[in-house]
Point group: C2
């Protein structure tokens, strides 16, 4: 195994971008499933249909990533497979207990992940960067989650404490799985460390992610 700071070959760079696309494709597929499940738990038909439409949009993103992988000669299932374990483990360890927790997960968890994907895409070729930007376009879920969580807290301020703890757990579990991916996927990890320059720069990347996480918590009316 190469050192994280060794120069990367073209093949290494391609592998890193295939990894990011595979990771994102599986993330979109699971986002679709979770939104559809949230739709089935929605308290009324209007929310149900709104969540259903967002789920469909996420599936559209999955299809875009699937097509891109196929078009660069990569078997999409093979590209997704390494990330099934970590993403499933993340979702299994953060199953929302109720509708509010699932909204916080959607906004805080997906927001954190999206920021991370964007940062990584910045280190890649223009085609990958622009595709990743497109599929991370918000499907309206953020606004939906914020509106519902804020009005729930307004109706019962006591829920804010529980949701803040929940959000902290989400980020913790996400970091555990990100670490696991970094250990397993050499090219991706090297791209991030090499792209950032050194481990200090990785710390700065984490600081940016944490800062934006704090902003989202504030929008929800929660203490980070």
């Amino acid at each position: 195994m190469a050192e994280w700071t060794d120069p990367m070959s073209e093949a290494d760079r391609k592998q890193a971008s295939v990894d990011l696309l595979g990771l994102l494709a599986y993330a979109e597929l699971t986002a679709f499933e979770r939104l559809a499940v949230d739709a089935s738990l929605a308290p009324n038909l209007v929310d149900k249909a709104a969540l259903g439409a967002m789920a469909v949009a996420e599936f559209g993103h999955y299809e875009v990533l699937h097509e891109r992988l196929a078009s660069i000669g990569v078997e999409p299932t093979a590209a997704m497979t390494p990330f099934v374990g970590p993403l499933d483990a993340f979702h299994d360890s953060t199953t929302p207990a109720d509708w509010l927790e699932s909204l916080v997960k959607a906004y805080v968890g997906d927001g954190f992940a999206a920021d991370f994907y964007r940062e990584v895409a910045e280190l890649m070729d223009e085609a990958t960067r622009s595709l990743v930007g497109d599929v991370l376009d918000d499907t309206g879920h953020a606004e939906f989650a914020v509106a519902h969580v804020r009005s729930a807290i307004e109706a019962d301020p006591a829920v804010a404490g529980r949701l803040a703890l929940w959000a902290r757990r989400l980020v913790g579990e996400a970091l555990v799985q990100a670490q696991r991916v970094a250990v397993d996927r050499d090219s991706l990890a090297r791209l991030i460390v090499g792209g950032a320059g050194d481990l200090t720069a990785v710390g700065e990347l984490l600081a940016r992610l944490t800062h934006r996480h704090g902003e989202r918590m504030e929008v929800l009316g929660l203490h980070a």
Copy 2:
């Protein structure tokens, strides 16, 4: 309440067609949700993506029905609401215990329902009839279910008995809920009885539905 065989006014006929569109819209929304849940339980990424695509197609059908209702000046949520209870009760009483049961439910249950919707649509105006035909177009789910169930029976013939019992229960529960809808929705029931001519003709309609059900069971390799 009018007798079932009284002549129907234009308003009665419109109510019956709004009822059918509302019933179908909610049925498509729940089909979307069930397929998405099946996708999340799929044994591999290829099946997962295939079921996801079918779920998305069902949501598209829901949107078509939603638009039609809105375009004829009916609040779609209001049109769906009377059918939430019966459809949810049907699905709650027929939660598949595993992946195979969910496939049989998709093919046998949805097939039975689709036949019924088509028969009812035959009694309506051309615009409704053609829209219903479009949204009942199979999304590839039938073929998918048949292929998977047949190969499961081939691998282990003992599952055929359990799945046959399950299919019988599905039809039984569907008839219980159809009865409930008939009692609640006067216009729809009168259209069916009046359209068929008399109760003998309703018996014939049931015979046609049962016959086609038997054909589907045979395709799966199950005793009806």
